[in-house]
């Protein structure tokens, strides 16, 4: 009898335990479903955002739109000066941020000794990545526009975006270099290479892909960056092109474009959003579609590149 009772309670216990397990498994499933739901809704948001711009701006995807200057009449307005401006500004940004960023990253990983100075630089770099972009705009307004007298030019804009991009390049350079094992360096030193030879012939070569990933992501961010350029007082109505950087006559290069006024794609978009007429909102949507396609392509390329590197390179 006693045995039976024990058996019964054990059976009962087993049942309750099984029920408990069932209940908790249900919780597991519920949370997994919730997680999937949240991620699905984020993805849908991204798709809706993209489709909304493309569908709204669809009527404007014509050659005229890319070949016309902005105009007071929405139907004739285009983004010629904006995309030319964006390209020129990005050229400046690229040539300033990339060499500086790689050099700084190489110094911090390969040269700097563990001392207070290295610590200060390190704190500064991570801090700069967290400074809101509009603060860089104020810095550029006070420093480049007025103290250095560069005005509201392509050069100022390019430098401003370069400052924003710098931390991204530095961080990606450092991460890429850190992945290179020490025996690569030792092998190079063993055959008599100097530190610089090791860096330029080996370290930079092998971290190239990782650095490129960071550069692409940084450039994609620079394309869409609006606030700092508005802050330096970038004009929004530009119906002329800056002087061409390349000329037919020697010396073939013309640097006057650096001092020219400019507008860029996101500022042009912002300008059109701010107008009350619906026709301009269509222009804004089309410009937004151009920006988001550009940035998505660049970010996609960077993600793919990083994926390939991770897959291929085994030290």
């Amino acid at each position: 009898m006693a045995l039976n009772k024990k058996k019964l309670s054990a059976l009962n216990d087993l049942q309750t335990i099984r029920e408990m397990i069932k209940r908790h498994k249900k919780n597991d499933l519920a949370f997994a479903a919730l997680g999937m739901f949240v991620i699905a809704s984020l993805t849908i948001t991204l798709i809706v955002l993209f489709l909304d711009l493309v569908l709204d701006g669809y009527p404007k995807f014509t050659l005229d739109f890319f070949g016309n200057f902005p105009s007071r009449r929405a139907a004739r307005a285009g983004i010629l000066s904006a995309w030319v401006g964006s390209s020129l500004v990005l050229i400046v940004t690229f040539f300033v941020a990339v060499p500086l960023g790689i050099a700084a990253g190489v110094y911090l990983e390969e040269y700097s000794k563990k001392n207070w100075f290295a610590d200060i630089i390190e704190i500064n770099v991570s801090n700069l990545a967290g400074v809101p972009s509009i603060i860089y705009g104020l810095l550029a307004l006070g420093l480049f526009v007025y103290s250095f007298g560069l005005g509201q030019s392509i050069l100022t804009a390019g430098l401003t975006l370069a400052l924003l991009m710098l931390p991204i390049v530095i961080v990606s350079t450092r991460e890429a270099i850190r992945a290179i094992p020490v025996h690569i360096r030792e092998a190079a030193y063993a055959v008599g290479a100097t530190k610089w030879q090791v860096v330029i012939n080996h370290i930079v070569q092998y971290s190239y892909g990782g650095i490129l990933t960071g550069v692409i992501i940084g450039m994609a961010r620079a394309i869409g960056e609006t606030a700092p350029l508005i802050t330096i007082g970038a004009l929004t109505f530009i119906a002329f092109l800056p002087p061409s950087p390349v000329t037919i006559e020697p010396p073939f290069l013309n640097l006057e474009w650096l001092n020219a006024g400019f507008t860029v794609l996101p500022i042009q978009m912002f300008n059109w959003i701010s107008r009350p007429q619906h026709a301009f909102h269509i222009n804004a949507a089309a410009t937004g579609a151009v920006i988001i396609i550009l940035t998505a392509l660049m970010n996609g390329a960077a993600i793919k590149l990083r994926y390939n590197i991770r897959k291929k390179i085994k030290w």
Partner: protein
């Protein structure tokens, strides 16, 4: 790394040594440039804000509830801008904290390797969306949708941009929080599973408490993002300073005030010009404090494991 030993012939090569020194020095200069930028930011903001504070007492700046530097009756109270900033940030957090945390737990504890590799690029694409596009989204799509639910909502309000800003910072919270969850040692998970805990119980009762300082750091850094966010609020929240915490009203934030002044004619050295630097300084102090706090919390977490 230890210094390499160089042969006598090479180490006496003068040209080679000079070159090396020169290169090291130029690389050092590039790295020190970061310090220069930080000092320049502080210098520019402070030096342009000093004349402003000679004109306006700090007490008035911090307590007056009206901000009208560009009107005939001038008031210089930063509070309306701060209230706008805090309200939009708060709405963004209500959206982003649950979504970000759920995403992080899911990615770290539930998702298989393959699922994670598919989802992370999507989050990165979301991070890459320019803020001006998010602004368009808030004004043209989210606000009209909210107006269907709540017809009294004005075209410019803080609710729409706040929600969109929340969506924008979800990936930040998700990736930072996920990093710290994945840093929790495997042994703790195995211990929990060995005791018969389910995945959900392990995530909530073991992993989340263990990674809590990392998760909180993610929240803090996300707040700092939201506080400094400019274009979404400049486009969709209206640019009229308004001392209110009511999300259905329109208001200016610190950042959108700077934008609205910069859009007009800036008289260099005028009080309007100086006021944007005072506003910028306030913003910098706010984000700096948040970033320091965030990094300290993160460091505390990193030291534990």
């Amino acid at each position: 790394m230890s210094e390499p030993i160089i042969s006598a012939r090479l180490s006496k090569n003068f040209r080679r040594n000079i070159m090396e020194r020169f290169i090291e020095f130029s690389l050092l200069c590039s790295a020190a440039f970061a310090v220069f930028i930080t000092s320049a930011i502080v210098y520019v903001l402070v030096s342009e804000a000093i004349p402003f504070f000679q004109h306006v007492s700090i007490y008035e700046f911090l307590t007056d509830t009206v901000w009208t530097p560009n009107y005939s009756i001038k008031h210089y109270g930063i509070l309306p801008l701060v209230s706008g900033t805090l309200t939009t940030t708060f709405i963004a957090l209500i959206v982003a904290v649950p979504l970000g945390t759920i995403t992080a737990i899911y990615l770290s504890e539930f998702a298989t390797h393959k699922v994670r590799e598919t989802i992370k690029p999507i989050l990165e694409l979301l991070v890459g969306v320019p803020t001006v596009v998010f602004g368009y989204f808030a004004l043209m799509l989210v606000t009209p949708m909210l107006q269907k639910i709540y017809p009294d909502l004005t075209t410019f309000n803080m609710l729409g941009p706040g929600i969109v800003m929340g969506v924008m910072i979800v990936p930040y919270i998700a990736s930072l929080a996920e990093d710290s969850m994945r840093a929790v040692p495997m042994a703790m998970r195995e211990g929990a599973y060995a005791m018969g805990a389910t995945r959900f119980q392990t995530s909530i009762r073991v992993i989340t408490p263990a990674a809590i300082s990392g998760i909180v750091a993610a929240y803090i850094l996300a707040i700092s993002r939201a506080v400094g966010e400019t274009m979404i609020v400049a486009i969709a929240a209206g640019q009229q300073p308004n001392f209110t915490f009511n999300p259905v009203e329109s208001a200016a934030t610190i950042t959108s005030y700077i934008v609205s002044v910069a859009l007009g004619d800036l008289e260099h050295g005028g009080i309007g010009y100086q006021s944007i630097f005072a506003a910028g300084l306030t913003l910098l102090v706010m984000t700096l404090l948040l970033n320091i706090l965030g990094h300290m919390t993160r460091k505390k977490f990193a030291e534990r494991y």
